[in-house]
């Protein structure tokens, strides 16, 4: 089981780290120029992607765009490093629930919008593929949140 958990941690953590970095760095991919980090990160685009979902109250879209990638980066990073891994898995599972709800809402409303899942790198529209991916990630994160134990937690709870 240990090896399974390790693999899952690396996969989910990796996905979250990558998705965070492309948002923070405003990474652009074009056929002509390949992968490009913009010199000055610009969240305008991602804030627009968030706004397109019409899920957060309009005023809060920027706040979501500012904070979300860094929460993803921190949770993904800790999960890979194995620090507070259970808590990180809980955060990631909770985020996946939020993402699923947002994508589901966009599909129900029939919004033809960009997913924004990996920032501007993937121009994919919201759709069942994104929904399916997120379900798989949620299942993996939920498994970890259930199976993992944070070492200090175990000792403190044993002492209690």
């Amino acid at each position: 089981m240990k090896i399974v958990n390790l693999i899952l941690r690396l996969i989910i953590g990796g996905v979250f780290i990558v998705s965070a970095i492309v948002k923070i760095g405003n990474v652009q991919v074009s056929h002509a120029h390949g992968i490009q980090f913009s010199r000055v990160p610009d969240l305008t685009q991602f804030a627009q992607d968030v706004a397109n979902y019409h899920v957060p109250p309009r005023a809060l879209n920027n706040l979501v765009a500012i904070t979300l990638p860094w929460i993803e980066l921190l949770a993904g990073g800790l999960l890979v490093l194995g620090i507070w891994k259970r808590a990180s898995a809980v955060v990631i599972a909770a985020l996946m629930v939020v993402f699923l709800a947002a994508i589901g809402s966009a599909l129900v409303h029939g919004y033809d919008i960009r997913c924004g899942c990996f920032g501007t790198v993937d121009a994919r529209k919201v759709g069942v593929t994104a929904l399916a991916e997120d379900f798989v990630l949620l299942a993996m994160a939920a498994w970890l949140a259930w199976r993992l134990e944070d070492s200090r937690e175990r000792t403190t709870e044993a002492n209690e």
Binding site: V40, I66, W70, W84, E157
Partner: protein, 154 residues
Amino acid sequence: MAGTLRRALVIVMAGAALGLAANAISPRRIPLLTPPKAPPQASDTVALEEAKAMWGSGTAFFLDARATADYQAGHIAGALSLPIEEFDAHYPPIQPMLTPDLRIVVYCDGQECDLSHRLMDRLRELGYHNVRVLTNGWTSWHTAGLLTHAGGQP
């Protein structure tokens, strides 16, 4: 479990704090709260009938704010592609055709579509003051049976 939830909360708060700090020092920081949308003004939009008249008389320049693929799949005949999301790449070849007083109609697709408004704002920033949005442009144009084309930039 309580410990786990507390730590999860710490991760969320720390991540949010990092994000706020990064945004605060970013030269292109965005406002913490999204500024309220300015109420749409009559002068910002153009009705289909009027757009049709301008199109027919050739007195307006039509720009398609949607992604290139959408443009290629079908666009208002004579419109040029200027996807707002890749504005910097697509603007230079179009710039020589524009003058500050030129009447410009921008459009995207769907009532909720924001691309044309963003393109209008961007063009106005560049000094083109005679820009208006044809709301739900693509759908209303082709459902009205008006002339359309498919394919790349002429």
